[in-house]
Amino acid sequence: MKYAGKKLLSMLVTLLAVSFLVFLAFDLIPGDPALAQLGTNATPERLESLREEMGLNEPFLVRYFKWIGAFCTGDLGTSYSYHISVGDMISEKLPISICMTLMAFAMVLLISIPLGILSAKHEGGRLDTIICTLNQVLMSVPPFFSGILITLLFGIILKWFTPGGFVSYDENFGAFLGYLFFPALSIAIPKAAMSVKMLRSALVTELEKDYPRTAYSRGNTPNQVMYSHVLKNGLIPVLTFFGMALTDILTGSIIAEQVFAIPGLGRILLTSIMNRDYPVVQAIILLMAFVVIVVNFLVDLLYQKLDPRITVE
């Protein structure tokens, strides 16, 4: 309980710090939201009245506290450029980012766990060598590059999907997931490769310990040793990585969204930064920070579940 309280407090402090930094960053970079809106039609008077309307003429701290005050009451504000509620804008795009992240994460798990185990089981064997070599290559391919290759191969040459033919989830959910498959794959590949490597080495280390030998001597089959004894212990270091991978995938989806022309959160984030649309940028970044913190918290709790000897303080 005490732990949860502590965690919660540190979470709030982190979020506050993130929001402050983002706010500050926007104050420092060149570009003015009012001018971004008026473009080349700006006249000094109109610029001034728009700045007043947007509340940009107030001192930095006043603006910050006003914003954070409204944010805490659930009012995320209105987008400067679109004139629609930031809450609506984000909730419309959230399913896209969630689906893509979950799909990519599921791919990481589905690929890496079986392969990691297989590789560890055949340590030093031919299969292990093949997996390890392949791993090394895939690990070093950045998602934007694999994204382009995938688009070229599956989109242009094989025509398994239409590049840029994104279908909205409320239009056709099946087609929507279908379109997300390849972007998710491009994000998942390097992460899965890293996971295989981590899991393999964790399992190999565990297999060399005394307790697997004891387990064998008690008459367990290799599979029993692997699945009921070694795997649990081997997963602990990998779990941290999975947590990191999940948050990485979420933020990495910004790039995949660009490459595959998916109008998700990342795309809004980028254009909002370019338009100096603070309310939108603030909300999305805070949301992402929040997810990162929560995932880390969950990973901590999971440790305990996997290994009761670990206590989180």
Partner: protein
């Protein structure tokens, strides 16, 4: 239990994804000719990051799309003439101060209501409101009163004569919208051939044909404006069949398109140039500016940037503005590097002139042009540094604060008036971002504004263009080539002398 459900869910998710992806079926990709004829997907390079209220919409990219939804009392046609729209006629008093508009009978808004004189008055008033300083349409500060004179008659009185008044009335900004509408930012209601249906941020804007349109009905039922922000994925979008039409294509991309597209060629109706900050010490000397003009080889720029397409320019006016355009100004400075060197030596800058070109990085044509300029200027001993900035930084530091030395950009006209191109060079203009200060020009422009006779006025505006050219206000380069890709399934695209995509003219090709 929970664990199990989650596992199942994830499993299901992956399974569905796998099956749909592997079976190769994808909603957007499936096209059959029948369905297509009443649906067109138009690619737009930029989302409407703007209010959808036509009075407040600032970006040209927004107005170009909203043109299909809104109309003013008058509107431009593709020849640049102003034709009656919500009004069926107008009369102008002899002194040019009183405009009497007769409204067309039974024009419907997209919400089904009939347009009344009150709607017209509230719309014009919204654009002329001076309570926050400059009104939304600056020229409307000239309006002294706007009154109803009968059910279908609206009288607008001006303080001063303004021959361009009808052009402002015909702009999308002066569109007629329902009086008292409070959600205009997000729910545009106009009188145009298409009705707004929905939008999804960074994704699309959907419109459908308005059946109760007063004029010639549109051909195509449903229009989706799809945001294709990434230039590289754009060609794939077109070739892959996700987009049927795309305007403002650079030549390099148009060349990559498959044979299923017709490429229409026009010009962008803007003046691309190396704009010089006249407050930057070397550029205060006319000889230096002229030297730059002589040093630039426009043929080469056009060849490299757009495969020789585009129109070379010599002043701040583009060819589609036929009435004012003077083609001979293009020959004011022919390519002559020797002369450029001489002029630089005369001005005392031989081999020691260096400056920075600040160029907005989101316009590849301008970036390319800047790079070629840098090479060409190097040959006459001028050192050029190129600084790429994103558009909003350009807006604030170059356009608004004028903290720059030179920039390559395209200047366009927001309406069909000569002043839209020329007013910015008056020394006291708010948008005179080059700090041009020439008493002779100010006098000529003012005289043009005051002139009542149309022919004499045109001549005075041309005089302004000549002054700009002769004083080498900027290094004028070209009106960029504009490529429009239209799928073979459609025909009927029309170029406007303004930033407009008129979808109502597009129809299914007969033999498809």
């Amino acid at each position: 239990m929970k664990e199990a459900t989650r596992k199942k869910l994830i499993g299901l998710l992956v399974f569905t994804a796998l099956t749909t992806a592997l079976s190769g079926c994808n909603g957007a990709g499936d096209k059959t000719g029948e369905e297509n004829s009443s649906q067109i997907t138009v690619g737009i390079a930029q989302d409407l990051e703007d209010s959808l209220d036509p009075h407040k919409a600032e970006a040209a990219a927004t107005r170009e799309v909203l043109f299909n939804v809104f109309e003013g009392l008058y509107k431009p046609n593709c020849d640049g003439e102003l034709i009656p729209a919500v009004a069926e006629d107008y009369a102008c008093s002899e002194d040019g101060l009183t405009y009497t508009f007769t409204l067309r009978e039974n024009v419907k808004f997209h919400n089904g209501n009939t347009v009344t004189a009150e709607d017209v008055i509230s719309s014009i008033k919204a654009c002329a409101d001076t309570s926050e300083g400059t009104p939304l349409i600056p020229a409307f500060s000239n309006i002294t009163s706007i009154e109803k004179a009968g059910d279908r008659t609206v009288v607008i009185m001006l303080a001063e004569r303004d021959p361009d008044f009808l052009s402002y009335i015909a702009s999308v900004k002066a569109a007629i919208t329902p009086a008292g509408q409070t959600d205009a930012d997000t729910n545009p209601i106009g009188t145009g051939p298409y009705r707004y249906v929905s939008r999804s941020v960074q994704e699309n804007i959907v419109m459908e044909k308005f059946d109760a349109y007063w004029g010639k009905a549109a051909y195509i039922e449903n229009v989706t404006f799809k945001v294709c922000a990434d230039a590289d994925s754009l060609v794939m979008n077109l070739n892959g069949g996700a987009v049927d039409m795309m305007a403002h294509l650079p030549v390099s991309q148009a060349q990559q398109l498959s044979e299923e597209f017709t490429i229409l060629e026009g010009t962008m109706n803007l003046v691309q140039g190396l704009y010089l900050n006249h407050d930057f010490e070397p550029f205060t000397d006319e000889r230096v500016r002229q030297a730059l003009c002589y040093a630039v080889n426009k043929d080469e720029i056009l060849d490299i940037v757009s495969d020789g397409k585009g129109e070379q320019l010599g002043s701040s006016m583009f060819p589609n503005f036929r009435k004012y355009y003077l083609p001979e100004l293009n020959d004011t400075y022919s390519y002559d590097p020797e002369k450029a060197k001489e002029l630089l030596a005369e001005a005392g800058y031989e081999g020691r002139l260096s400056f920075t070109i600040t160029v907005p990085s989101n316009y590849p044509q301008h970036v390319d042009t800047a790079q070629i300029l840098a090479e060409q200027l190097k040959e006459v001993g001028v050192t050029v540094k190129i600084e790429q900035v994103e558009w909003n930084t350009w807006l604030s530091s170059v356009y608004s604060e004028r903290q720059y030395e030179a920039t390559v950009v395209g200047v366009d006209a927001s309406n069909l008036t000569a002043s839209a191109m020329l007013s910015r060079f008056c020394s006291d203009a708010d948008n005179n971002f080059i700090n041009y200060n020439n008493a002779e020009y100010d006098a000529a422009y003012e005289a043009a504004q005051l002139e009542i006779n149309d022919e004499a006025q045109t001549q005075l505006y041309q005089e302004c263009e000549i002054i700009l050219a002769e004083s080498a206000a900027n290094v004028y380069i070209q009106d960029l080539a504009e490529m429009v890709a239209l799928s073979d399934e459609f025909t009927g695209y029309e170029f406007y002398p303004l930033y407009v995509q008129d979808i109502s003219k597009i129809r299914p090709a007969e033999n498809s």
